[in-house]
C-alpha cells in the first residue's frame, strides 16, 4: 500500500494561495512589495494612492481570484463526475459537446446580441448536451460508446456553426469572439462572479451530496441495477448539475481547455480513486490549480496570454505521461 500525500495539507493550500494571488498582478502603479505593505497597514493609510490600490484589489484582483477558483473547481468536479459516470477516464466536459455548444452560444451573442452573453452560452450549452443525450438514448438505455459518439457529432456541428458566425461577422467582433473562445479571465468582474457563483455552487453542492453514487455508477449499468439504483436516472442526476457547472464557467470565461480532463487524474494520484475523497478534493485542488495557472498567466508577461494556452501547455505533457505510464486505460464491456 502506497502512502498517500497528507490530505489535510492539500485542503489548506487555497488559503495562502488566494492571499498570494491577490498580491500578484501586472499593476503599473505599484510594485508587489508596496502593495503588500499597503495591504497590511491599510487602515492607517489614506489618500488617493490607497483608493487606487483598494480599487485594484477589491474590484479587479479579488473577483478574478474568486472566479478563477470557482471555474477551476467547477470544471474539475464536473470532469471527474463525467469520467465516473461514463466509466471512461478519457472523458471531459467537452465530450458531450458542451464546450462547443456554449462557445457557439457566446459567439452568437457577441455577433448579434440577441441574448446576453452568459444566458446565450448557457442555453446553447444545455441544448448541445441534451442533443447528445437524445441522440444516444435508445430503447435499450444509454450506451457509453453511443453517447461519446453523439458528443463528437454534436461538437462538430456546433463548431461548424461557430465557424459560420466567424465568417459572417465583422473583423472587430471576430477578434472578441476568437479571444473569448480561447478562454480568458482578465475580464473578470463582480458581475461575472455573481452570475456564475449561484449555478456553480448549487451544482457543486449537489454533486458533493451524491458523490458516493459515482462509485456505484462507475462499476457499470448491470452492477448499478443489481444494488437497486436506476442507472439512467442516476446518469441524468449527474449530467444535469455537471453541465450546469461547466456551462456557467464557459459563459463567464470561455473555453478553459483540459482542466476537466486532466486535473481529476492528478487528484486520483494523490488521494486514490474513491469519489468520497476525490470530489471534495476536486473543489480544493481544481480551484487552486486554475488559480495558480491564472496567477502565472497574468504575471509572466506584460500582456495577457489566454489562460487556456497555459492549461493546455501544462496539461498536455502530463496527459502524455499518464498515457505512457499506463495510468489511463479504456475498457469497454
Amino acid at each position: 500500500m502506497k502512502k498517500r500525500f497528507p490530505e489535510v495539507i492539500l485542503y489548506l493550500v487555497p488559503i495562502p494561495l488566494i492571499f498570494v494571488s491577490i498580491l500578484f498582478g501586472p499593476s503599473e502603479l505599484l510594485s508587489i512589495n508596496e502593495l503588500a505593505k499597503l495591504l497590511i497597514s491599510n487602515s492607517k493609510s489614506s489618500g488617493e494612492d490607497f483608493e487606487v490600490i483598494r480599487d485594484i484589489v477589491l474590484n479587479i484582483r479579488l473577483p478574478r481570484v474568486i472566479l478563477a477558483f470557482l471555474i477551476g473547481a467547477a470544471l474539475t468536479v464536473s470532469g471527474n463526475s463525467l469520467q465516473a459516470l461514463f466509466r471512461n477516464p478519457l472523458v471531459s466536459p467537452d465530450i458531450l459537446g458542451l464546450s462547443a455548444g456554449a462557445a457557439f452560444g457566446a459567439a452568437f451573442s457577441l455577433a448579434y446580441g440577441l441574448l446576453p452573453l452568459q444566458i446565450s452560452a448557457f442555453i446553447s450549452g444545455l441544448l448541445a448536451v441534451s442533443l447528445s443525450y437524445l441522440l444516444a438514448v435508445t430503447y435499450r438505455g444509454i450506451s457509453t460508446i453511443t453517447l461519446i459518439l453523439a458528443g463528437i457529432i454534436v461538437t462538430s456541428f456546433f463548431t461548424a456553426l461557430l465557424t459560420i458566425i466567424q465568417f459572417l461577422t465583422d473583423p472587430f467582433k471576430l477578434q472578441s469572439i476568437v479571444h473569448w473562445t480561447m478562454g480568458n479571465l482578465h475580464t473578470a468582474s463582480w458581475s461575472k462572479v455573481s452570475s456564475a457563483v449561484f449555478p456553480i455552487t448549487l451544482s457543486l453542492i449537489w454533486l458533493m451530496l451524491i458523490r458516493w453514487k459515482l462509485n456505484i455508477v462507475s462499476l457499470g449499468d448491470t452492477e448499478t441495477k443489481a444494488v437497486g439504483v436506476n442507472p439512467d436516472r442516476a446518469k441524468l442526476l449527474i449530467i444535469i448539475p455537471a453541465t450546469l457547472a461547466c456551462s456557467s464557467s464557459v459563459a463567464v470565461a470561455g473555453v478553459v481547455a483540459m482542466v476537466g480532463l486532466v486535473v481529476p487524474h492528478m487528484i486520483r494520484m494523490l488521494v486514490g480513486p474513491d469519489n468520497i475523497k476525490v470530489q471534495p478534493m476536486a473543489v480544493v485542488f481544481g480551484g487552486s490549480f486554475l488559480l495558480c495557472v491564472d496567477t502565472i498567466s497574468r504575471t509572466l508577461t506584460e500582456y495577457e496570454i489566454p489562460i487556456s494556452i497555459f492549461t493546455i501547455l501544462i496539461a498536455a505533457p502530463f496527459f502524455v505521461y499518464l498515457l505512457k505510464k499506463g495510468k489511463i486505460f479504456f475498457r469497454e464491456t
Binding site: R87, S218, L219, R331
Partner: protein, 249 residues
C-alpha cells in the same frame, strides 16, 4: 417463493425465452442448467430485475416484480453477474461497500463498512481489503463481487456462474458458503456449467434448452441418461454414488 409464469423475452427479433414457467422454492438451492445460449443468464437477469420483461409474469413472495421499487428489490434480491471489469482501481472494500446502496441515503456509515468487512470475511478474502480491485485476478474479482452481494444482505441469491473463474479450492469454498446461507433460510438460484456440482449440491433443477424448459417428470431426475442427452445433445455416461448419479468424463 418465486413464481414465473409464461415468461417470454426477446433481444430484437431473437426470442431468448419462450413461454417459460417455473417455481423456485424458498430456502432451496435451485440450479439452472443448459448449453450456451439456452437463455439461462437471461432468465436469471429477468428475475433479478436487471432486464425488463414485457410478456409473462414474475412474482416474488406473491408480489409482481415490476411493482417492487428498485431499492426494495435490491434488499430482497442479490445478483452476482457473470463477469466484471473495472475502469478505476477502487480498493476492494470500496467495491464491496457499493453493495450497501439499498440501505444508504447519501453517504455510507460506519455500520455499512462493518457489514462490508463482515461480507469479505464470510467469503474468506479479508486479506484483499485494501488491494486495488482492477489488479485482481478473475477469480478474486468474482469473490469480491460475491462479497458485494452478501453485503447487500438479500433473502434471495441469484448467482450467474459463480464457479467459473474459481480454482478447485475456491469452488469448494463457494459451495460451502452457499450451503451455509441455505441453512440460514436464504434462497439460492444459480446458473451452473458443471452439472456434477449441481447434482451434488442443488435441491431443485431448471433445465433450459433454446429458451424452453425441459420438463422433469416425477421419475426423471436430471442425471437420467435421456434427460442429459436431451439437455446437452451428447451421450454421457454416469456413475452412481450416494443415491445420486454423476457424469464421468
Amino acid at each position: 417463493m418465486i413464481e414465473v409464469k409464461n415468461l417470454s423475452f426477446s433481444f430484437g427479433d431473437h426470442e431468448v425465452l419462450k413461454n417459460v414457467s417455473a417455481k423456485l422454492y424458498e430456502g432451496k438451492f435451485t440450479a439452472i442448467l443448459g448449453r450456451n445460449g439456452s437463455g439461462k443468464s437471461t432468465f436469471l437477469k429477468v428475475i433479478a430485475g436487471i432486464i425488463k420483461y414485457k410478456k409473462g409474469e414474475v412474482r416474488i413472495f406473491g408480489k409482481d416484480l415490476r411493482q417492487i421499487k428498485d431499492s426494495e428489490r435490491a434488499k430482497i434480491i442479490g445478483y452476482l453477474p457473470q463477469f466484471h471489469t473495472a475502469t478505476f482501481p477502487y480498493k476492494v472494500l470500496d467495491v464491496v461497500l457499493t453493495g450497501r446502496a439499498p440501505y444508504v441515503f447519501s453517504m455510507p456509515k460506519k455500520f455499512d463498512i462493518y457489514k462490508s468487512e463482515e461480507a469479505l470475511d464470510a467469503v474468506g478474502i479479508s486479506h484483499l481489503v485494501d488491494r486495488p480491485y482492477s489488479e485482481l485476478s478473475g477469480g478474486e474479482r468474482q469473490l469480491v463481487m460475491m462479497a458485494r452481494v452478501l453485503a447487500q444482505e438479500p433473502k434471495i441469491l441469484l448467482l450467474d456462474e459463480p464457479l467459473t473463474h474459481l480454482d478447485l479450492t475456491n469452488q469448494y469454498h463457494m459451495m460451502e458458503l452457499i450451503k451455509n446461507h441455505l441453512s440460514k433460510g436464504i434462497t439460492v438460484i444459480a446458473v451452473l456449467h458443471e452439472p456434477n456440482m449441481a447434482f451434488k449440491y442443488a435441491d431443485e433443477f431448471i433445465l433450459l434448452k433454446r429458451g424452453q424448459i425441459i420438463e422433469l417428470s416425477y421419475h426423471f431426475k436430471p442425471w437420467h441418461q435421456d434427460i442429459l442427452k436431451e439437455l446437452y445433445d451428447i451421450e454421457l455416461n454416469t456413475i452412481n454414488f450416494n443415491d445420486k448419479a454423476y457424469i464421468i468424463p
